[in-house]
Symmetry: C2
Amino acid sequence: MPQAVAQSIILGDWGTSRLRLFRFCDGVEAGRIDGPGIAKLDASPATVLMRAVDPWRRDGVIASITLCGMAGARGGLVEAGYLECPADALDWRQNATALMLDHVSVRVMAGLRCRNPMGAPDVMRGEEAQIFGAIALDASLARGRYSFVLPGTHCKWVSVVDGRVEAFRTYPTGELYALLSEHSTLIAPGKAEGNDGDAGFAHGLARSAEPTLGALFEARAAQLVDGRSPGWARGFLSGLLIGGEVAAEAHPGLQPILVGDPKLCSRYGIALKAAGCRSRSIDGDVAVLAGLGLAKG
Amino acid sequence: MPQAVAQSIILGDWGTSRLRLFRFCDGVEAGRIDGPGIAKLDASPATVLMRAVDPWRRDGVIASITLCGMAGARGGLVEAGYLECPADALDWRQNATALMLDHVSVRVMAGLRCRNPMGAPDVMRGEEAQIFGAIALDASLARGRYSFVLPGTHCKWVSVVDGRVEAFRTYPTGELYALLSEHSTLIAPGKAEGNDGDAGFAHGLARSAEPTLGALFEARAAQLVDGRSPGWARGFLSGLLIGGEVAAEAHPGLQPILVGDPKLCSRYGIALKAAGCRSRSIDGDVAVLAGLGLAKG
């Protein structure tokens, strides 16, 4: 029989497509559990959460659960609102919504919102934990002006000044890629996938100086006319969309800090380099844990 | 009992999402039938076609059926290839693939293909019938240089010189709109649609000077933060995508001829006007019939 552990705390990032829970005992990581995203639940968020942590509960007391991301959206575990920008880690830490679930104390963190210079609203949920975590991990980022880029379903381009999130802009590039790649006529059905996705990516990147909307259809035409594979076409779409996003944001002197999945960050790094911008990357899991560590009850 | 008609000819436009068949007796239109698009068949294309025209066959002899569009695609009724640009109505008329179905003579027209100045391939199937039809209807279009725009699932921007299609570019704007409008997180589920779609369209159009990828997310954020309706957000996406497409193609002096669904052409007309371009519209049904009239056996 496993030895009972006195107390643990749980930190979690509950996004649209994935739940990631991390358990800590005496400050040491003691396990991870992956679960379904908020958009994919078969029961209430509270039921799904307590079911997910049940193995850890049977192994000892859970002192607290701290969650960021879509857990705080309307239709999530509890609506946790948005904190107005500019906002720093301290503001964020103080903007949690607390509830009790089955005698366990749960904190759900607020998202951030801002308006861009055109007056358009924008929102984030979960990425702020990664940004504040990255700053906590590297004290040099707490002073001065930095651009953070957080690739994913809804990629965020974030301006941070002296540790405060000043403003940001969302590019739904990951979602657009998934829709075009899986549900559009741009990918021919029923053909062998091919292993030339990297060549397609490079070709898409080379096209990304053109307006993105007018370059998308090459994915389909290249399969029909030039015998390209569906895998090439998917790579092309990825290169074109990431390249188009980078082209819209890149400017001389931009040296962004990429935070996210290392493989996806590497694709953004290639696109940024092609646009003349140096970048560096921080693992998104490491950053979100550091951020949730700031937020925990 | 209906009186038997000696002979009829059938003209048809068989697209991805819709089959439209027109019957002519002694040069006079004598009925229309709508059926499923090539992507939506429950039987072979030949079976679906002959089933669709069966009421007309029982009413008299069918002398010929002439089809344009995806009927000539791989996986359609018969693969009818692509004609290389530049190409005029005569070239096109001579590029039909003939077959017999149930003792009826069927002609399936070729599509067109071209390469843009960057070397990217592009293709069309069906729109060429509308272009050649529009030129047949208005002899003044047979001399000089014209820009045709054919809005739809895959909108075509076409350069025509002395009646020849020189080159074209496809914007998959209609398909992108449908994916984002029906299958993305940009539209909040379960809320009342609202009747402010036109206001959303105007707002999206006003945003379309910005890079489209970076402006899309306002559809979602405006629902979350500013209480906009899903209908407004759909209108916003339509205005942003059509406006972005027009912004990519518009240039001083452009006076395009819109050919297509009158309602959709009207939206493109508004976007063109906002970009400083006068345009005029031709009904797509009228144009495709005139084009198929040139092609018939």
